[in-house]
Symmetry: C2
Subunit: 324 residues, 2 copies
Amino acid sequence: MLRFEEARQIVNNALGSYAIDRFPEELYEPVRYILSIGGKRLRPALVLMACSVFNDAVHQAIKPALAIEFFHNFTLLHDDIMDNSNIRRGQPTVHERWDPNTAILSGDVMSILSYKIISESDDRYLKDLLQLFNSTALQVCEGQQYDMNFESRMDVTVGEYLKMIALKTAVLIAASLKAGAISGGADTVDAELLYEFGMNLGMAFQIRDDHLDVYGDPDKFGKKIGNDIVTNKKTFLLIKALELSDPEMKSRLNNLLGNKNLDPETKVREVTSIYQQLGIDSITADLASAYYEKSIQYLERVNAEAPRKESLAEFAEKLMYREA
Amino acid sequence: MLRFEEARQIVNNALGSYAIDRFPEELYEPVRYILSIGGKRLRPALVLMACSVFNDAVHQAIKPALAIEFFHNFTLLHDDIMDNSNIRRGQPTVHERWDPNTAILSGDVMSILSYKIISESDDRYLKDLLQLFNSTALQVCEGQQYDMNFESRMDVTVGEYLKMIALKTAVLIAASLKAGAISGGADTVDAELLYEFGMNLGMAFQIRDDHLDVYGDPDKFGKKIGNDIVTNKKTFLLIKALELSDPEMKSRLNNLLGNKNLDPETKVREVTSIYQQLGIDSITADLASAYYEKSIQYLERVNAEAPRKESLAEFAEKLMYREA
């Protein structure tokens, strides 16, 4: 069994010694930059931890782990352009520090590097890993497109939202676990069970993320409370609130969203007050818990001794009850 | 032996029946669009033609052929954003018809689709094809970055220029031929010889491209003569002219490039007149010919009967002496 902190250390060491000794500098400097400004390395750590459920030789899973981290960072580079985000991990985003063209091309090269790395995986598992990687990568792009489509829509349903976060967020967490399982020599049933563990955990993770934005402890959250409300982001909370509100409340909510002159603090207070009247806090927390519980059930069904699965269970619990 | 027109037909049929039946529409519609507005299919046709040198079962090479066409079109989507080009194949570019975000994400998805397709290649050749594809893809990005770097530089050397077009243009033509050879079961020596045939042909192709922009027959060229001059593009002609000109002529050339009020026709006429005094026409034509001759030498060394190589020789000749 490999604990998260150990896994993260292995990932960071491997990333540190993965020499990107190619030119021109203008292309590869932003790649080194985005990898160097941090990130929790959740996904690659999950690859190694999933491998360790079946096999102590966790280094067998290092290539898919790195490939997934490169892929994830590629999506960040491009998403930040599309979402016009200026800050990532407390630092300027690549398109902000350099320019959009640099972020486009460096992102492209990171995506190709992720394929280069996955191609270096153990021959025995290459075909399965590629198939998993290809379908997951397409789904992540599809999720990003749905997310962008939602920006200009006020009629997004809860079902559509859940599908979007499944694609944009949960499948990559699920694929990380499955890639680790494959690399550890797990059979297809166990690999699938870990995939489902990851899908449900990923859903819980994103819904908890939406929840924290409003109900996080300001002293622990690290970011400003209510940022999603200020930016009119289509979170689970907002979509559920629009679904549950009667015509009068819905019109109040729409007015708050449409009023560009409203100061941010008032907007957050007013929207939160509507959430309160509709019970959005507990509805959201309950949904996240339901996904979390389901994820644990999948993990329990994985055919391995309980101690080997302990670090994944611990990880899931921490992810679920995190404060930031 | 497979002639270019037959190869192109097979490629177009395969592209037509390659169903991209995924959602959302907003993501995949631009992919279908860029594939539908034409393109000569040079690269995928070369894959099939190279395969046919060694093997009549050219369908063995269809996956790498399609993968390379998807990859090429992905680079077009992103290059057009970076170069701010509004027209491609006589039609609006994707970022123009939709918007830059759409072009970024649809490009990403095309790049992933190209990997999905190459991953479906014959198991026997998968590892070799992936390695070729990965290193080629990185090189193409590197070439694009050098090309962008050159925009703001007036001191680009001929050597730097040749390296840039080798990366941006020639390696993908070379890789197309090598991928076809691999898929046809060629040995590594012949695969390498075809790669070098492609490298030299690709160099000739790009230099001829630069040459045609100024010295093409206006009735046959299809585009406006001198567009590269108008846009100050760092072509072989301009770089060579800057290298060969004495201080006085260099200063005249720099004034022409820097003068934003000059009408395009005068600029083309004046720059062309400097080219004429420096003998740029024949220097450029000679260099293209030298690469072409070298490419043919590599082709001749490929261990196959001459008739099997005839269509590639014919293709190279046509590419070299094309008028548009």
